[in-house]
């Protein structure tokens, strides 16, 4: 279906990434947000607080990130599309509710404008060091989806994608920005509403008596249909391991079945969840795997290397989780090496190394607070290609 | 003749004794019999005194007993306003 024009600020704008993310959420139909102030993410909800009374919806500033990250889920079960926004320390506090959203299959979006950590770290400076936390931060086994934009335009575009994927798979989606992208101001083109595709909620239309909240339809989809509170279904939702009725089920079999399905509904959709940008990877000796702000720095390094005659390709991950194992595996059949620059001490590079099956993988680490120097990435490419 | 009576779901009872203790007309006592979990459920020892006040039902934490006035069908006191 198409976007509701009410939230779509069609036109050409000059926006920073945080504001563009907010506009993406509004265009996607988000009508509820809860947040707690934290640099460098606050501008997203500040804009939402200003815009939403004129669009139709609610923003509430909660008492902390624990509250924000569960208030949005209450709103979702009440019928809204909802999201919350934070940065590292707040993201840490939200971990339990990422697990709750996974377990209860609550579609919602968590925006994390990453800054340097651990702990309070570098509030106003960038990092990409929450990438593994986005994947594994909550306890238990699970799969989520995470996206990484590298420009304000993508902050708009991919926020819509984030909402759409959360609705399609009924899973919390991590929108992993970074301080640079969040605070960078560029041209953002917002198309007319009729050009924006929106994934509708997977609502049930079953009769009240026939509805089981966690039963798959039998149509092959592993994603159950959803009811909202107040519709007469009188359903139960719990963070405990549950059966198809949503009732607690404390057995090995129930655990295996539920956790298995929660994994499979994402892992078996790997093809649908492949969103990358590839340049010159087909004949590359070295493939630079990159994401977020680092991809823009890496571009300089790649261009310099190609100017020197090196066969270097670029693989930019827009969806980082689930990780594109098969694509990396395919590229590894030809490439001699992968180079992975990232604003952390080695997170996604380990995934590349795992998927590359023995092909040399070079991490170009950076502890955060700034971005890489292009010459350092060039140097890593040169060394890797030897 | 008794104005009311009680109904007991013996298997739900955990013999806390609330219904026996707080019955205003002392209709109930714990039975010497056991249910399958080994609890002594209540039984009526003074049925003629039951007023059907349902205080036992209000107290019972296990939803195992309730009282009602004779001739009245409790479930048909329409509880549910479906819109």
């Amino acid at each position: 279906m198409k976007a509701d024009p009410a939230g779509v600020l069609t036109g050409v704008h000059f926006l920073d990434g945080d504001h563009a993310c907010c506009e993406g959420a509004l265009a996607a139909g988000a009508c509820f947000a809860a947040g707690y102030p934290i640099t460098p993410s606050t501008e997203v909800v500040e804009r939402f607080a200003a815009r939403i009374p004129k669009v139709g919806g609610t923003f509430i500033q909660m008492e902390d990130e624990l509250a924000s990250s569960i208030a949005i889920q209450g709103a979702v079960w009440g019928g809204a599309k909802a999201f919350t926004v934070t940065s590292g320390p707040g993201f840490s506090l939200m971990m339990e509710h990422i697990g709750y959203a996974v377990m209860t299959e609550t579609p919602c979006v968590f925006v994390n404008v990453q800054r340097g950590g651990p702990s309070t770290g570098l509030p106003t400076l960038p990092a990409q060091s929450d990438m593994m936390q986005a994947r594994w931060g909550s306890h238990g086994d699970y799969e989520v989806i995470a996206l990484c934009p590298n420009s304000p335009q993508e902050c708009f575009d991919l926020t819509i994608t984030a909402f759409n994927l959360s609705e399609k798979y009924r899973v919390p989606v991590m929108f992993m920005m970074d301080e640079c992208v969040g605070h960078m101001t560029e041209k953002v083109i917002i198309p007319p509403a009729e050009q924006i595709e929106i994934e509708p909620r997977r609502k049930t239309h079953k009769p009240h008596d026939a509805y089981k909240p966690y039963e798959c339809n039998g149509d092959g989809s592993l994603v159950p249909e959803m009811a909202h509170a107040g519709e007469g279904y009188k359903f139960h939702v719990t963070g405990l391991t549950h059966d198809e009725r949503g009732y607690p089920a404390m057995t090995v079999a129930a655990q295996q079945k539920l956790v298995g399905r929660l994994r499979d509904k994402i892992s078996k959709a790997a093809d649908d969840l492949l969103l990358v940008e590839q340049d010159n990877t087909a004949d590359a000796d070295v493939v630079v795997v990159t994401y977020g702000i680092t991809s823009r720095v890496a571009q300089r390094g790649i261009d310099s290397a190609r100017a020197k005659g090196l066969k270097v390709g670029k693989l930019r991950l827009k969806i980082v989780w689930p990780f594109p194992d098969q694509l990396i595996k395919k590229l590894s059949q030809r490439a001699k090496a992968f180079v992975v620059p990232e604003l952390n001490l080695g997170q996604i590079s380990r995934e590349v190394e795992r998927a590359a099956g023995g092909v040399k993988t070079v991490c170009v680490p950076h502890a955060g607070g700034g971005v890489h120097r292009p010459e350092d990435i060039l140097k890593a490419i040169q060394e890797a290609s030897r | 003749m008794a104005k009311g009576t009680v109904k007991i779901v013996v298997e739900r009872c955990k013999a806390c004794g609330f219904c026996v203790e707080f019955c205003p007309t002392k209709v109930l006592a714990l039975s010497p019999a056991f249910n399958s979990k080994g609890y002594h459920p209540p039984h009526m020892v003074n049925p003629e005194k039951c007023s059907g006040c349902d205080l036992c039902g209000m107290y019972c934490p296990d939803f195992a007993i309730f009282g009602y006035k004779v001739g009245e069908k409790p479930a048909q006191k329409e509880a549910v306003h479906e819109s």
Binding site: P53, D64, G79, A80, A229, G230 | P47, F63, H81
Partner: protein, 293 residues
Amino acid sequence: MSEVDFECAECTNPVEPFLRSERMPHIWCPGCGIGTTVNCFTRALIDSKANLEKLVVVSGIGCTGRVAGYLKLDSFHTTHGRAIPFATGLKLANPKLTVVVYAGDGDLSAIGGNHLIHAARRNIDLKVICVNNLIYGMTGGQTAPTTPEHATTSTNPYGTFEPGFNLPHLVDAAGAVYVARWTTFHVRQVARSMQEAFKKKGFSFIEIISPCPTLYQRRNKMGDGLDAMKYYKQASKVKNGAPTGEVGLTKTGEIAVGKFVDRDRPDYRELMVHRFHESLGDEYVETGELVCS
């Protein structure tokens, strides 16, 4: 005559239509008072003729947290301490819902304490039912913020020495519009307070002192559930309108019960709508239910 009625199939317990009967028996211990509060709750629903399709129960974690799962209503068993913020989002997204938060003392006042005071401050239209058994039951009898001084718990084996919370005082100070306390002995009063809270717009808080025979009474040599009930009957004193600062609990002393607070002030939504109308005029798009596309 009564024989016939006794056997009649239609004669069902008034609580029964509200229960997910296939989940019975419940997990609560013999003599636990939580089930008694559920009786009161369902009687209040019947007597207030509540629209059950629009009534939602939100629980946290713990023994009382299990209430949501036993009620045949839209019900959410959330994370520990977070029933109130979940309910806040739910109520704001769909103001037509009556949202009841049904949780224990530890859930609401320890791990969820911050949410409790802020929801009261904002005057979110929630009906909070706090079953206070003075201890952590589900995890084995640890000290709660409500445990009276000198009571023995598994984490204060030599007696508690930290002062406990006086919950009515706390939520009164934070701004709740309706505050009452009863015990599980006061079944009719509990049901009446619940009905009053259903009618009240804003943050209502009903504390129900309830036995935990397995962990609180036993460890403190205070007998079983029935002994606790007898103590409630003997020690309770109705003090409607009492200053909440004077209703703190002790281990064996008087239990002040009654309706302490009943006042009116605009709830969060009213304040929000009023502000936006004032500031934005025609630009404000007032919404009822937030329905996602």
